[in-house]
Symmetry: none
Subunit: 207 residues, 4 copies
């Protein structure tokens, strides 16, 4: 009987592709972009070298996909948290919580975004810049609204957004490094919210 496509086959192929990407995240997170060789990845995924190139044109492209997916996922989680609340404190808390959740559920994936080590390959550096830019814009939006409402002190919202992004990344990085208990993580969320509220000069803390 001839080969049947688009049935089980298609699903299987996608599954393998996904499995390989997951293997890749692990390797990238463990060794960094450069130290991770294609051989490492296929070994982790338990396939042959050729298989890698059957699914991805090259290492850089794979990393690009990975980065894109990861970044989009995190971005979406944060943006949704920010937009689904109305008060600034609630927004901050939801977004931070979302970030922490993802970070602890997929540490490797998040490490990828934080450490990068993609300084050299131009296309990756650009991607990283774009992602940071989107992240900054996401944080900036609620700030602009709050500014208008005079809920926070007058300030350069863009600059504050940059600062918050940098601040939270650094904290998450340290949290991931010193493997925390759930409890500690929750405490950190609280501290991050407090930091954020102070940093934006939130005026009605009595709320």
């Amino acid at each position: 009987m001839p080969y049947r496509s688009t049935d089980t086959t298609r699903r299987k192929k996608d599954a393998k592709r996904t499995a390989m990407m997951q293997a890749a995240v692990r390797v990238f997170a463990a060794k960094g972009y450069h130290a991770a060789t294609v051989r490492d990845i296929v070994h982790e995924a338990d396939v042959a070298v050729g298989t890698f190139y059957f699914y991805f044109p090259d290492k850089e492209t794979l990393f690009g996909h990975l980065f894109e997916e990861t970044a989009a996922f995190l971005l979406q989680a944060i943006e949704q948290a920010l937009t689904s609340r109305t008060s600034l404190p609630a927004q901050l808390e939801a977004a931070i919580q979302a970030y922490i959740n993802v970070a602890f559920y997929e540490p490797a994936v998040v490490q990828l975004l934080l450490v990068g080590g993609m300084g050299s390959v131009p296309s990756l550096a650009e991607r990283r810049v774009e992602y940071r830019e989107k992240l900054i814009r996401a944080w900036q939006r609620p700030l602009l609204v709050s500014l208008e409402r005079r809920e926070i002190e007058p300030q350069n919202a863009r600059r504050t957004a940059e600062a918050l992004v940098g601040a939270y990344d650094e904290i998450v990085f340290h949290l991931l490094a010193s493997t925390q208990t759930e409890r500690e993580a929750q405490q950190a969320v609280g501290e991050m919210v407090q930091f954020g509220l102070r940093a934006v000069g939130y005026l009605y803390q009595a709320e």
Copy 2:
């Protein structure tokens, strides 16, 4: 400046060593640790490959020295700014100003600390962690003092320090990217100070 012909390193014999280190910073900053080849460095320094290995055991060690000196220099500049003032606002301003000064005078040097791309080589990753740790501790100290003096709101000073380090790095990164005029840089310093004071919950802004 670090790794420059300072008091101790001004023996004539070290002229070449210094030249190579200066060349190395430029190359590392421009291409990242991995993409920068020893050939690139010696070419930039206008010496032969062999010469490199006369002065340094290997590429990693050179980068280590470079990183160490660079980090020490920046750290010292910031620490000295923080310790030579007494009021928190003055400390913040001086430290930020110091950081910005170095960043604009030696962009390559600072880029080295920020971008790194040293994710892969373990020894380099460790060094980076150590440096961040020292930086965090440096910022933490005045916070602890101010906490004691009840000049700032109660908080986890360590966490706040992490946040400030991350925040300022992110801002400096963006400042370096969008080449600013002196005037813009000064404005950024002001904004960074304001952000810092708010973020730590500085209580007597009337001062």
Copy 3:
């Protein structure tokens, strides 16, 4: 035409085989033996890779068949032209005309014989040598007859045959490169005949 659905090969099952061989000639002629990948061929034939290996044991063998058929076809065309005439001028003209006809009707096929690029794979190189040998012998035969009849100057017929084969190939190669009109092609045939008659030292041109 060779490898086309001829009397013997017209079983339906061979339709795919034929399609693949036709596709193969095109690809080989366009890219040369090495640069032509099996993937290129199956893509051109619009079948899957596996199918290729169902019909042919390997790439080299396919090329072998192709070469053989192509060579046999051209050889047969030329030999038949040479044997079906009696006078040397008529033989020359018919053979050249046959060669040109095939060359312009199936440029890819002829290019295959001319360019080859089969220098590396030993079995292919041998095949090429055998084909040239047969071609030379084909041209040599009428020369020997004419020598006996003293219609041409005394000469080493074998050497002359080699020369003619080389000469005509070179000309056809140039003709194919500079796509000619039918008219130009005909003129070339005339010139090739003249060259041939002179080259063999044909004595009674008045005939």
Copy 4:
């Protein structure tokens, strides 16, 4: 004492470069362009892989140099033979003799020009076409002169030149294959001259 350059060193480097090129010719001639791996070449030259890339950017470029040198050398030999004589028979003989000399002195080198097997790599194919073109022009020149002088029959000199080039190449190819004695080679030269004179329709054979 520091390293002294441009003295013995320079000469040595050139010598090695030349040695590697000679090794390369041997390998290319034996296996063809594609089958010849860089590893084969460095093994033949008894150096390390890296050394190859120290002297040449890549295999294709090396082959290009080789081809260029070889072609230029042969071309020059033939052109000089053609221009240093005045009568057509003398020109033919000198040029053929030059060709044969080179072919027997450097068989590998000449085989390179004849077989090529460079059908795939575009840059090489182009080079080959250029070389053939120059060769054809070189043979064409004396023909045009002789045409003007009415020493040869009216004809398309370009076409005749193409034919002669193809003819002689084929003959030389066979000569190299069936290793000849000096005596046989000389006889071949005579036959080639005779063929050439007949082929161009040389009128005053009494000369």
